[in-house]
C-alpha cells in the first residue's frame, strides 16, 4: 500500500551531460500536452534535492562528470537513474570524440537504458513506467 502510493509521484530531474539536445527536447516534450506525463504524477522539479528519478541525456563530458556525481549524491534515496538515448547508454555516437567518458554508467550507477538516437518520447515514457516498478522494489527494500 505504502509503496504503491509512494511510487505514484515520481519527480524527475533532467540533466544534460553533453548531449545534442535531441533527447533533452524529447524529455521536455514529455511534459507537454501530447504526452503529458503528469498523468503518472511526474513533475519536472529541476532540483536534485526534490527529485526521485534522474533522467540523464548525453555522453558524459569531462567537465560535467563531477557535476553529475554531485547531483547524484544530492538526490535523496530511494532514487532511480535513467540513461536516455544511445549516447547516454554507451556513448557510441560520439565514439571518436576526445572529451567524453562514454556513457553515464561509467560515472554513476544506472538502472535503466533507453535506446534510440534520439530516443523517442514514447520510449522514455515506457522506461519511466518500467522504472516505477523497480523503484517500488527499492522502496520496499528501504522499508526493511
Amino acid at each position: 500500500m505504502r509503496e504503491d502510493a509512494a511510487t505514484r509521484s515520481p519527480w524527475i530531474l533532467h540533466f544534460d551531460t553533453g548531449s545534442c539536445n535531441g533527447c533533452d527536447l524529447e524529455v521536455w516534450a514529455l511534459l507537454t500536452p501530447r504526452y503529458d506525463v503528469e498523468r503518472f504524477g511526474m513533475v519536472n522539479k529541476a532540483n536534485p534535492k526534490h527529485a526521485d528519478i534522474l533522467l540523464i541525456t548525453g555522453p558524459v563530458t569531462k567537465k560535467s562528470e563531477q557535476r553529475l556525481i554531485n547531483l547524484y549524491n544530492q538526490t535523496p534515496d530511494p532514487k532511480l537513474v535513467i540513461a536516455c538515448g544511445d549516447c547516454a547508454s554507451n556513448g557510441v555516437p560520439f565514439l571518436d570524440c576526445y572529451n567524453v567518458c562514454m556513457g553515464v554508467d561509467k560515472v554513476i550507477p544506472v538502472d535503466l537504458y533507453v535506446p534510440g538516437c534520439s530516443c523517442r518520447p514514447e520510449a522514455i515514457m515506457d522506461a519511466v513506467v518500467k522504472g516505477i516498478g523497480m523503484w517500488k522494489k527499492k522502496v520496499e527494500e528501504a522499508d526493511r
Binding site: 563530458t61 569531462k62 567537465k63 562528470e65 576526445y98 572529451n99
Partner: protein, 116 residues
C-alpha cells in the same frame, strides 16, 4: 604587433572606407603540420565571404582583435584551447576542463603541409 596584424587592420580599414564595416564571421585556425598554423579571418562583406589568411608560428604573440570586434574574444579563446596559440591579453579555458586532453586539434608532425 606583428606584420600580419598590422596588415589585417589596414585591410579592414580599407574595406570599411568604401561600404559598411565588414561583419566578422569567424577566426579559424588550422594546423599545417610543420609547427606553423593557418589563421584565417573570415568576414561577411557586401553579401559575400571575404577572408584574410595568415600563417603564424607556434610561439608567435598574436594581437587579439577583440578591441575591434568584441565577439572575436570567444573565437580566440577557443583557438588557445584547441591549438595552444598565444593571443595577447586573452586566456584560454573556454571549452576544455583541466582533465581534458591538451591542444586536442594539433596534428602529428609527420609531413610537410600540402599546398592549399
Amino acid at each position: 604587433m606583428s606584420a600580419a596584424e598590422i596588415d589585417l587592420r589596414k585591410k579592414l580599414e580599407r574595406m570599411s572606407l568604401k561600404s559598411p564595416r565588414p561583419r566578422l564571421i569567424d577566426v579559424i585556425a588550422a594546423d599545417r603540420r610543420d609547427g606553423t598554423y593557418d589563421l584565417i579571418y573570415v568576414f561577411h562583406h557586401e553579401g559575400a565571404i571575404v577572408d584574410h589568411r595568415y600563417v603564424v608560428n607556434e610561439d608567435d604573440d598574436i594581437t587579439s582583435i577583440a578591441d575591434l570586434y568584441a565577439g572575436a574574444l570567444c573565437m580566440e579563446r577557443e583557438i588557445i584551447d584547441m591549438y595552444g596559440l598565444k593571443f595577447n591579453g586573452v586566456t584560454g579555458g573556454f571549452l576544455l576542463d583541466p582533465s581534458s586532453p591538451k591542444n586536442p586539434l594539433r596534428q602529428p608532425r609527420k609531413e610537410v603541409a600540402k599546398d592549399v
